[in-house]
Point group: C2
Chain length 347, copies 2
DNA sequence: TTGAAAGCGCTAACAT
DNA sequence: ATGTTAGCGCTTTCAA
C-alpha cells in the first residue's frame, strides 16, 4: 500500500477543509468560498484547491456545514403509513424534485410515533428546513404550533391549519367523476347508472359521489337511491353488493365505482350472472391501478395525478424556502382513462 | 399574546442547550448528560432540567449534535430507480427498522446522479453512518472504495464487492420455483409443463429457470426445449408467445411463468382459444402482485419476502454499527401461494 | 455530582 | 482576491 492509498483509507473523516487549505496553500476561507461558489476566488487558487480536493478525496462534512449555516438542506416527509398504490409515485415525485434542488429527503412513518405518544415529532425545525405532510401524517396541534413559528410546511391531501396561508396540494375527485359519468351518458347512451360507494364519511369517497350526482342532475336524469350501492373500496364487498342488487332484480346499464377494487368486484358479480361488460353494462373505476390493463375486459378508470401532486408540493416547499408568497390551495385534475369496460376501445 | 407564547414563536431555533441550562441553573454539560443519559445527574438537577425543557419547548439541534459526536444517526438508502411493486414493502421495512432504532432514513435515487456523472455519491460517510444499497444503486467502484475504508454498507439484491465480507441479503428464486413446479407435478399430475422465460441474462430470470429445470429433472421428466417459451416479464409478449405456440400445435398441461405479468398474458392467450385454466392447463406466476386475487381465475404465484429482506438488511447494518461481525450472505425463502389457477382452491 | 473549556468542521463577517 | 477570526450548538475530557 503506497503512501497515497494509505492516506485515503484513513481519510474520509479526517480530511477536513484545513487539510485542503494547507495543501492548496490558501486559507480555509478561500476553500469555503470555492466550495460554495460565493465570494471571489482567484483562478490559480481555484486550480490548486480543486486538485488538492481530488488528491485528498475531500468531501465536506455535512453536519459542520449545516451547523455553521443553520441550514440542513433536508426536506422531511411525514406520513402515517407507508403503504398503498400511491406511495411509490408520491415518493418518486418528491425525491426527484428534492434532489434536483440539492435537498436530501428524509421520510418518517408517523403511526408508531403517534402510538408511542412521543413528545416531539421525529422531523421538524431541528433537523429539516421544512416538511411535507401527507394526509394525517402530523397531528393538527403540531401543524398549528409550527405554523405560528413560520416553519415551512406544505400539505398533501390535507388541509393546512385554520387561518394559515400555507400551501396544500390535492387531487381532484368530483370533476373527474362527473366527466366520467357524463361520458357514460353521452358517448355510450347509458341512462340507469349505478354508483358503487366507497366508505361513508371518507373524503375522497364523498367527493366522488358528488361528481356522480352532479353529472346525473346535469343530464336531467333522476337521482335514484336504489342505484347507490355499497362498494366499500373492496372487491368482496362490492361483489356481494352488486350480486345482491342483481338478484333483487335491480336493473342498470352502467356502474361507476368509487375505486378500481370495487369495480373488479362488480365485474365478477356480473360475470357470474352472465351479464356482459361492456355490452350489457358499462363499467368505470377509479385509481388506474396496474391491473386495469390486465383484467378482461380492461378497466376504464380515472387516474389521480399522484406524482404531479408530489412534485407540485415539493416545488411549493422550495418556493417557501425562497421566501416567496405561499400559493395557497392547489387542486390537480384527475384524468378519465377509457379502456374497454366502459365500451370504448376493443381491448 | 402572553410572554410564554411569545417566547415560543421566536423559539424553535433560538432555544439552545444554554437557555435550558440557565433556566435550570446548571451548566450546559449537565444538560447534555441529562439529554444523553450518560454521566451522573443529580435527581434535583434532573427535575429542574426536565421542566426547563418543557417550559422552553427545547429540541436539541441535530447538526450540532452530529458534529460534536461525529455520528449522524442517519441511514442512507441508495437505489437506482424508485419504481415497481417491491419498492413500497422494501421501503416500509427499512423505515420501520431504522426509526425503531432511532435512525433517520434518507433515500436517493441514483439514476440522475449517474447520468450527471457527478463526482461524489449523494450519500456516504460524510452524511450517513452507513448505507443500504439496493440492486445497482451504487457503482462498484464506490462500493470498493468505501469497503476499503470500513464504511458500513449492506447490499440488497446485489453482491458485495469482491473480497469484502460485508453482508448482503437476497431473495430466493430457484428453490421456490422448483417447489412450485414439483407441486404442479405431484399435486396436479401435470407432465408437460411449459416455462415462460423472463429476460435472458437477467439474474432473477435465470435463477427461476434453473428452479424449473431442477424440478423437471428431479421428477424424471424430459427437459423439452420447445416448452421454453418467451415471456419477457411482459403481458403482451407472453400473450403473443403463448398464442403462437398454441397455434403451432404445441401441447402442454401447465405453465410456470417467470412473473405474474407474463402469466396474465398466458392466461389471455389461452382464454382467447377456449383453453380453460386450471381445468385444461395449470398456471402459476411469480411476484404475488396485488391483482393476483382479483383476476379470474385467481393466480397462483410465488411471493418474494421483500419486507423481510428489507428488515434483515437494516438489522444487519445496525449490527455493523455495533461492531458485530458481518453476517455474510443471507438468502430469504420465497413462498409458493396456491390459488385457483394451478388447480388448488375454488376461487 | 458538577462546571469550565476545548473542540467538532464549517460559514460568514470583517479586515486587508 | 484573500486571510483572520468569531461563532454555530453540542459533546466530552478534565478538574474540582
Amino acid at each position: 500500500m503506497n503512501k497515497k492509498a494509505q492516506d485515503r483509507s484513513e481519510a474520509s473523516d479526517s480530511v477536513t477543509i484545513r487539510s485542503v487549505a494547507k495543501l492548496a496553500k490558501v486559507s480555509i476561507a478561500t476553500v469555503s468560498r470555492f466550495l460554495n461558489q460565493n465570494g471571489y476566488v482567484g483562478a490559480d487558487s481555484a486550480l490548486r484547491i480543486r486538485s488538492a480536493m481530488d488528491e485528498l478525496d475531500y468531501v465536506p462534512n455535512t453536519s459542520a456545514r449545516n451547523l455553521a449555516s443553520s441550514k440542513t438542506w433536508t426536506i422531511g416527509l411525514l406520513l402515517e403509513h407507508i403503504a398503498g398504490d400511491f406511495f411509490t409515485p408520491l415518493f418518486k415525485g418528491i425525491e426527484a424534485e428534492a434532489s434536483e434542488a440539492g435537498y436530501s429527503l428524509v421520510t418518517v412513518s408517523t403511526a408508531p410515533w403517534k402510538d408511542l405518544g412521543a413528545k416531539n415529532p421525529p422531523l421538524g425545525p431541528h433537523n429539516t428546513d421544512g416538511i411535507l405532510v401527507f394526509a394525517d401524517g402530523l397531528p393538527e396541534a403540531w401543524a398549528e404550533r409550527w405554523n405560528q413559528s413560520g416553519f415551512p410546511m406544505v400539505f398533501i391531501q390535507q388541509e393546512p391549519p385554520a387561518g394559515s396561508s400555507l400551501p396544500s396540494v390535492h387531487v381532484e375527485n368530483t370533476q373527474a367523476v362527473r366527466e366520467a359519468v357524463r361520458h357514460l351518458i353521452e358517448a355510450h347512451g347509458r341512462r340507469r347508472i349505478a354508483f358503487l360507494r366507497g366508505q361513508i364519511g371518507q373524503k375522497d369517497s364523498g367527493e366522488r359521489e358528488a361528481g356522480y350526482e352532479a353529472a346525473i342532475a346535469e343530464a336531467g336524469l333522476e337521482l335514484l337511491p336504489e342505484l347507490m350501492l355499497e362498494g366499500g373500496f373492496d372487491t368482496e364487498i362490492a361483489c356481494a353488493s352488486v350480486g345482491a342488487a342483481l338478484e333483487a332484480g335491480l336493473a342498470f346499464d352502467a356502474i361507476c365505482a368509487a375505486d378500481d377494487d370495487s369495480a373488479i368486484g362488480a365485474l365478477r358479480a356480473m360475470r357470474e350472472r352472465g351479464i356482459r361488460v361492456p355490452e350489457d353494462v358499462s363499467l368505470i373505476g377509479f385509481d388506474d391501478q396496474e391491473y386495469c390493463t390486465l383484467v378482461d375486459p380492461s378497466l376504464s378508470t380515472i387516474r389521480a395525478p399522484t406524482e404531479a401532486v408530489a412534485r407540485a408540493a415539493t416545488r411549493a416547499l422550495l418556493a417557501l424556502f425562497r421566501g416567496e408568497e405561499p400559493k395557497g390551495r392547489v387542486v390537480l385534475p384527475s384524468e378519465v382513462i377509457c379502456r374497454r369496460s366502459c365500451g370504448c376501445s376493443k381491448r
